[in-house]
Point group: C2
Chain length 185, copies 2
DNA sequence: TATTGTTATACTCTATAACTATA
DNA sequence: TATAGTTATAGAGTATAACAATA
């Protein structure tokens, strides 16, 4: 990619396309995780829910949904899938009985740890182009970015950035086509 | 996150969860791109299609779809959206008239460049937790990983890794629940 | 016959909204 | 009244399959 600019003074646009890189790597990860975790209750998301629920103190479903980046309505079904085989249990929060705290059971922890090692190896394969030092660097940087994004709700922030930065309404460029056009019903 | 392990000998599981980090960063990027590119023909994907089509020699739709990680059937509609305002044109490949080569027009290039600078600033904001040196490092590493994934069709490779590595069929763990259970439809 | 692109259709996934219970 | 969780439903997005053109 880097090796085939179409002109010396016009470098390959993909070279600094963060979206392209992230998309490729993310989709690669998702495919890999699906292979390892198809038969896991709830699939890859079930596994990641266990990861989140195992981290730190028990939280309610809203907090977990936000951390996992999914809607609270889908989290309901996801937790159902994990509660079936007894990997998690819902427990009413004594402080506020509207909240349901999600606890990971011993069985859930065991199932999680079993898949974890496999997933780690697949992850390593995904990053196979890097040395182990580079791989650690990448993980560290991603971790910091992810935490910063998660910490400050980025939506509000990004809105202000966009309105500050956005150029004049694109005259003759991307006019009014809001999205995708599905021709003739 | 890193600062709250739940026990000294049981570090926070999220610390090495590549999937979580990639998910958060990717979703953050998607949200940011949507803000900048909602009114762009085809949305963020239309923009990325222009990026891909501007890179290197003209390719047919199949190659573009693979590079963008989308199905060729949705690419048809996406190209329609960009051909409407005249950002790209389809041209029959003289060498094999089954192929349609996608050319970016001057108007398409102009629209792309206009949004590009805004998008770059939003990207920089997304990586705001990093110094500019770290940001460049991250981009470089991601670029290499993305290229390696894109180069070698990872699916076949990962399959072999999984079958090599997978432990005995999880007895009593993730039994047969294949996916999500939508109770009482 | 195989492949590229197109179109239509079916399916999955997600989100909106209404409902229950707690506060 | 407001919030957490649940449920049903509608909508968006995606993939499967049939078709047309070309090889």
């Amino acid at each position: 990619m880097t090796h085939a600019p179409d002109q010396p003074d016009r470098p390959d646009p993909r070279d600094d396309d963060l979206g392209w890189m992230l998309g490729v790597v993310f989709r690669g990860y998702v495919r890999a995780a699906e292979h390892v975790l198809t038969d896991f209750p709830g699939g890859p998301r079930g596994y990641h829910l266990l990861t989140a629920a195992s981290s730190g103190p028990p939280r309610n479903q809203g907090a977990l949904a936000e951390e996992l980046g999914i809607d609270r309505t889908v989290l309901t079904y996801l937790i159902d899938d994990l509660e079936g085989p007894g990997f998690v249990v819902r427990r009413a929060d004594p402080a506020d009985r509207r909240n349901r705290l999600v606890d990971v059971t011993a069985a859930g922890r065991a199932a999680w740890e079993q898949r974890r090692s496999t997933l780690r190896q697949v992850e390593a394969h995904l990053l196979g182009a890097l040395t182990s030092t580079e791989s650690a660097t990448l993980r560290g940087l991603l971790q910091r970015v992810a935490c910063s994004i998660q910490a400050a709700d980025p939506l509000r922030d990004l809105c202000s950035v966009v309105t500050q930065v956005r150029p004049e309404p694109p005259g003759g460029a991307g006019r009014d086509a809001p999205s995708r056009t599905r021709r003739r019903s």
